[in-house]
Symmetry: C2
Amino acid sequence: MFIIHANMLIKPEKVDEFLKEIDTLVAASQAEEGNITYVLKRDVKQDNLFTMVEEWKDAEAMQLHNATPHFQKFVQDMQQFAAAPLDAKVFEGTEIKRG
Amino acid sequence: MFIIHANMLIKPEKVDEFLKEIDTLVAASQAEEGNITYVLKRDVKQDNLFTMVEEWKDAEAMQLHNATPHFQKFVQDMQQFAAAPLDAKVFEGTEIKRG
């Protein structure tokens, strides 16, 4: 599986609009067959720093996601929202189920 | 390496106190030799749902962390803060460095 931490620094004046737009992306991404988790978090110290915490079943699921209309639209939208380039960390791994 | 998503649902009336207390834990954990990332995020839809996004070099680093006074104190404190049991996902993996 794959885990992604996609950190997004948003222009302060665009945060409300960003939060409205991203709802569509989150709902559509969660509905994708290969998705496990897709949730948006906000940094507790920096109000305009957000992280999408994602889990995907495999590489194919991630690639399919990147090609979806809802993701492509969001990439476009981010050009007006972003205060810095997307800072994403991608990990390949396995979940450790505990007792 | 290990990635942890530690989800914590906090009693609404305890959120401010929780945020004060957790600063100590975050600073001390980030200073640990085996830590890569230790940051607190808040859910954008649920104000009392928090996630500690963690990255650790190896299993030993995680075990050392769990035995530290600052983590043990926090485990104690959580008994009064938590509105639900800790919901942590642990992954073993490798970061995929991209071009």
